[in-house]
Symmetry: C2
Subunit: 348 residues, 2 copies
């Protein structure tokens, strides 16, 4: 196992580019600011792609899947077998993310990062399995440091091989809203109660039990404070692979479309390692999981959609995708006041 | 001028259909309710189109434009000439709605309902001009009863000629946020202050002046309480044409995608005449105009997007369109638990 080398992620701040983009937006034939948050989105994408006429090319939906030893502790409403069953459904084209990726022309790659079952090889499946699921974080670290580094490196390698200038983050793993909750609690400092939600559908009692389990797990790994230590302690392989994917995509200056609570937790770890990754991120939505809004607020990301989604898979990222395309189209294709011969606000 | 005959708009409530749709949604491979408000949208579209596998066909973006005599009273930040200039920009393909309609394959029809300028005929332009702008509502009714009836009938006739099963509402008319504010105040009973916003970009002083003007206009037409009387009193030709378009589309059971404050005001008048039209409506977004949220709440419509848009033109309807397509795709194409062989929540 070689030592993990994280890529550099430079500051994109460029006052001249910002000025040119803002001028272009303000000169479109519409009242100043009338396209609201779509204008901020256009500014962000123009900044990431370093273009006043940005064009999103070959968008990649990356769905990372893995199992969690902690799932045996009753933190999810669904049995662990659902992880591999949903991977099969992604690949068969019948899951929400499959349907939505097809609708929007997003190339779908499903990664077995550590599912507790082996899959027959096929198109769209990448096997980068670190182990058959993580260990139970309630009795020891979910991953060893070496496993964690391997999963992060996998994510970097996968993105290096993908074409295009936009990456959409998706995930699957029964138990992984617990992982996201613990990463949020540990890295941001919120109480675990505020970070714990219903996941796939726990009732109030189940959620209270989940919060108690997670509080004990956090206490067991009280010394896991550094980002990669926390990631190794709590898991999981799909989150660690996404952390690597985010770092690599950020270095390459791709637009990163963040999905729900779990994908956002991967961005949180990446941001703790390389703060400038957030400059490349667009938050697709804020989910019904209570921790998600806290996490996005910490990252300073303003979600595009508020649809009470709580599915994961990348479904929210796919749903928001056309708004990114719209922001680019507005910047590229709308006429300026001058070109259209339209009177301005201060005209007689 | 023949008497206006409004179409019947029947109640779509059908418990059996609702049950079948809800069953189909609940059996998709996802936790119950995990697609949040997209599920409610799928239910609504399935109900309108009377199908468990709904398919949106040949969507029509209808942008109705007209001028307002009241604009001379300084209620807008922009000069009245911008109405015809923007119509030219719609037709030239350079406006926001042009760009967004192209992005999503929406057929764009621009209607001259009463612009104070004549246009050379061309593809995509329909001329149903009642007059060269409305009269100044601060000195008398904006339209005569006959003009109002003519504009409503125009809207019905236009939709009758359009193909497809979905209608997106757009509008252009310098001064028309004043019209929407007065219709909201009169038909729902809110104080005009709460209904009055910045429109295309008034400052606080301009907005206060606008509210004072509108309060006087409301007082002048204190007896215009019935929906069509209020519409005639306040205007405008584009709003009245949209009222007719909404009524006709509702009778034909098309999906109606409501845009911003002004399009919603047309739905308000249509709903006052035929309450069941709202069952066919999807609110694309809630705009930055303060009256819009009040208006949607009155109609009982939950907006899909919260992007602080305040452009009109149908831009918000176009931005939300892919979500309607997604809702249909989920209902049509997602696998059921049984078909996918995925364990349910209560499985062992």
């Amino acid at each position: 196992m070689s030592t993990l080398t994280l890529p550099p992620v430079v500051d994109l701040h460029d006052a001249a580019l910002t000025g040119r983009l803002q001028h272009a937006i303000d000169n479109k034939t519409k009242p100043l600011g009338a396209l609201g948050r779509l204008e901020a989105l256009a500014l962000r994408i123009g900044t990431i792609l370093d273009s006043e006429a940005p064009r999103l090319a070959q968008p990649q939906m990356l769905v990372c899947a893995a199992d969690h030893g902690l799932a045996a502790r009753g933190v999810s409403a669904y049995p662990g077998d659902v992880t591999w069953q949903m991977v099969e459904t992604f690949l068969a084209g019948g899951a929400a993310v499959s349907v939505l990726a097809r609708q929007h022309g997003l190339a779908l790659t499903v990664v077995d990062c550590g599912v507790r079952r082996d899959f027959t090889p096929r198109d769209g499946l990448v096997v980068r399995k670190v182990a058959q699921g993580t260990a139970d974080a309630s009795t020891g670290p979910a991953m060893s440091a070496a496993q964690c580094a391997e999963a992060v490196a996998n994510g970097m390698a996968i993105v290096r091989e993908l074409p295009g200038n936009a990456l959409l983050l998706g995930e699957m793993g029964i138990g992984n809203s617990s992982v996201a909750a613990m990463l949020l609690a540990r890295l941001v400092g919120h109480d675990i109660e505020a970070c714990t939600g219903a996941g796939t559908g726990l009732d109030a009692e189940g959620r209270a039990r989940k919060a108690r389990v997670l509080r004990d797990v956090l206490a067991l790994h009280a010394d896991a404070a550094a980002p990669l230590d926390a990631l190794a302690a709590f898991g999981g392989f799909e989150v660690a692979t996404l952390v690597g994917a985010v770092l690599q995509a950020a270095e390459e200056r791709r637009v990163i479309v963040v999905d729900g609570f779990i994908a956002s937790a991967a961005v949180l770890v990446a941001q703790a390692l390389r703060p400038q990754v957030v400059q490349r991120c667009v938050a697709a939505h804020v989910s019904a999981e209570p921790g998600h809004a806290l996490l996005l607020a910490h990252l300073g990301l303003d979600p595009l959609l508020h649809l009470d989604l709580r599915l994961g898979e990348g479904s929210g990222a796919a749903l928001a995708w056309p708004l990114l395309e719209s922001a680019c189209a507005v910047l590229r294709d709308m006429a300026s006041f001058e070109a259209a011969g339209v009177a301005r606000k201060d005209a007689p």
